[in-house]
């Protein structure tokens, strides 16, 4: 399987993703410079975390104009796997590939800590190795991860089962105390209606090796490795 990790000016998690893909999964890796329209035949496009374009105007607002994003949108429309984490999630929302928006954390603090999230949708290429309701521990590091959507959009997300991850306490309850940023319905990650585009605030690439304090992120990578083999583009 071949991953393409997009690098914008200001992206900072690209090498972490690259390390996990290449050295932990032993999968193929290519970095996609934001000015490059060519996706080089990748099976999955990764939009990593960071501060693309210095978060000017709004987080992710300028990155969506990079030439590579036209190709990413077209790839996603054909059913291609597009995985955005942190700033990548913000870019996906700004680009209209996912609904809603990510606004300033309710607490106004940058939150850099471990967060417990519950998998509420195991029927995606990213999560099928997880059980419904399974709790996993993932690092978060963001100042603008407060998920917002209008009431209709939120209802649709819930009705369609598009909420993939929710911040929860140790008993699996999505409480206000377990919500690090004020996200509506404790949302930590969502997919589009076809399930091929995933946006999530936590960083799975930072917990794929025991040396880094946890390996829960690996379940997502491993799900994808197996799912990609049976995926055909439209």
């Amino acid at each position: 399987m071949k991953f393409g990790v997009v690098v914008f000016p200001g992206t900072w998690s690209d090498r972490d993703w690259g390390h996990v893909i290449k050295d932990v999964l032993c999968a193929d890796l290519i970095y996609l410079w934001h000015k490059d329209r060519e996706l080089h035949g990748v099976d999955c496009v990764v939009l990593p975390g960071g501060f693309s374009y210095g978060d000017y105007l709004r987080t992710g607002a300028i990155a969506r104009f990079s030439p590579v994003m036209d190709s990413v949108a077209e790839f996603a429309a054909r059913g291609g796997l597009v995985w955005g984490s942190c700033n990548g999630f913000q870019i996906l929302c700004e680009a209209g590939l996912l609904p809603g928006a990510l606004i300033r954390n309710q607490c106004l603090e940058f939150r850099c800590e471990w967060a417990l999230v519950r998998c509420d949708q195991p029927s995606t290429p990213y999560t099928w190795r997880l059980e419904r309701g399974q709790l996993i521990n993932l690092p978060i590091a963001h100042g603008e991860g407060n998920y917002f959507a209008d009431p209709d959009t939120l209802r649709q997300l819930e009705r369609n089962g598009q909420v993939v991850f929710r911040y929860c306490d140790a008993s699996g309850e999505p409480t206000a105390d377990a919500n690090p940023n004020g996200s509506m319905n404790n949302i930590a990650g969502i997919v589009n209606t076809s399930g091929n585009v995933l946006g999530m605030m936590p960083h799975p690439e930072r917990c794929a090796e025991a040396e880094l304090g946890g390996t829960d992120g690996l379940a997502l990578f491993r799900s994808l490795l197996q799912a990609a083999s049976s995926l055909t583009l439209r």
Partner: protein, 102 residues
């Protein structure tokens, strides 16, 4: 022409910055403050044949980039020229000047 664009969080969007600033103002003794919303001010200088044309173009700029309409509302004033924008009265949609400020 100069467009003075104001972008503010929609009323339904929680604005933690506004809440924090409101608390600060009240702590300073401004007990009359009931609400604060923190937004952005963006000044766009543009060439346009008429105020109508500028109006339509700036509106489109706001819709496509300057504001994210999922979370933000926008409004703007158009001023003639490129210098000292604040000293000139705003133009209405027909390009007429409003009342001179007192």
């Amino acid at each position: 022409m100069i467009a003075q664009v104001i972008v503010v969080p929609k009323p339904v969007v929680n604005d933690p910055q506004g809440v924090t600033v409101r608390q600060g103002l009240r702590a300073l003794g401004f007990a009359e403050v009931t609400d604060v919303r923190v937004g952005k001010y963006i000044e766009v200088t543009l060439d346009a044949a008429s105020a109508d044309e500028a109006y339509d173009r700036v509106e489109e700029m706001c819709r496509q980039l300057l504001a994210n309409r999922v979370i933000e509302d926008f409004r703007f004033d158009l001023l003639p020229g490129a210098a000292e924008p604040r000293s000139r009265p705003a133009l209405d949609r027909k390009g007429k000047r409003g009342e001179e400020p007192a």
